[in-house]
Symmetry: C2
């Protein structure tokens, strides 16, 4: 009744990952009481992102163009393709400054228990991308979690069947951790030691 | 450049309390990749709340009307006024089912270090509200934190000067904790034992 717009806002905030009922109600209070400008900004940013952000036709990452800047960069080594789960993982690899090849972003990982199979991640598009005739090595940089490892295994099988050289980040990356939280030195080392 | 709509979304999400750069980028990824409907909902809920939610003229809580439902309820005891910091605290007191009076919501607490003085919280409006001739007792239910206690002290001084009976929730509420996280039994007990 009298609080429905507020209740609806709390409900909508709860759809954000990691936000429970108390956090959502604190966020709603903060926005309405102390940061209405932030609330307006967020509403506009959501609309703009929904309207403009799409997937790069080549590497599948988020972009506002048909093909992303990284894929269009003539300086990048088109014979290497690094496969990551998310744009955040791609950013982590980029920040090491030790990789000059191209990327493919799965936008997820295989997770049969959650109903996420090869069709839910862009596996078929990866196979098409990797067999463009230029790519010679695919570096599988999925996370070193159980699901990331399973995904890496399935990808490696499929890519090797196409005659491609498939490597995996070296196990310098601590097992059980997620790539975007790993320190840059460890990622850089793992890139050099890939096997 | 090519990721500006996405970057703007991450920046906007960071304005939410308790959300750092990693959480913000995870939220943006989740919304764009897995829950575009949720992103749309959130944008609309923000707009609706900004447009419709305002402060109750009597008790200062969030409402979509001139005066909120609680203040209009003839069943409530108009001689008692419970002062809380936020609508979430008010909801916590309501859930105990052991208070039948009315409320006043400060929408904050005194915090000189953050530049929050009597003018930033609705202290003057509380004094006007409490001296309506009907209110006989003001129950100060600000949080039992350092800032909440300081606020309670300042409020009590001012309200007593107006000749009102001022009580404070009993110290059954664990010192150092915040009201909205306290179990209902403790809040109920503290209401009975108010001093």
């Amino acid at each position: 009744m009298s609080r429905s717009a507020l209740d609806a806002l709390v409900e909508a905030l709860r759809r954000l990952p990691g936000v429970g009922p108390k956090s959502a109600s604190r966020m709603a209070f903060h926005l309405l009481q102390h940061d209405q400008e932030g609330a307006r900004l967020l509403a506009r940013a959501l609309d703009a992102a929904l309207e403009r952000v799409r997937h790069c036709r080549r590497c599948n990452t988020f972009t506002e163009h048909e093909v992303c800047e990284t894929c269009l960069d003539p300086q990048r080594d088109a014979t290497q393709l690094c496969v990551v789960e998310t744009p955040a993982d791609q950013a982590a690899v980029e920040r090491t400054g030790s990789y000059k090849g191209l990327y493919f972003v799965l936008m997820g990982r295989l997770s049969p228990l959650d109903g996420i199979g090869p069709r839910e991640i862009a596996m078929q598009r990866l196979f098409e991308r990797a067999t463009d005739g230029q790519v010679r090595e695919v570096i599988v940089a999925t996370n070193f979690t159980a699901e990331g490892e399973a995904t890496a295994h399935v990808l490696a099988e499929g890519l090797k069947a196409q005659g491609l050289r498939v490597t995996r980040l070296a196990r310098g990356v601590p097992v059980g951790s997620e790539l975007e939280y790993v320190d840059l030195g460890t990622i850089a080392h793992a890139l050099v030691d890939r096997r």
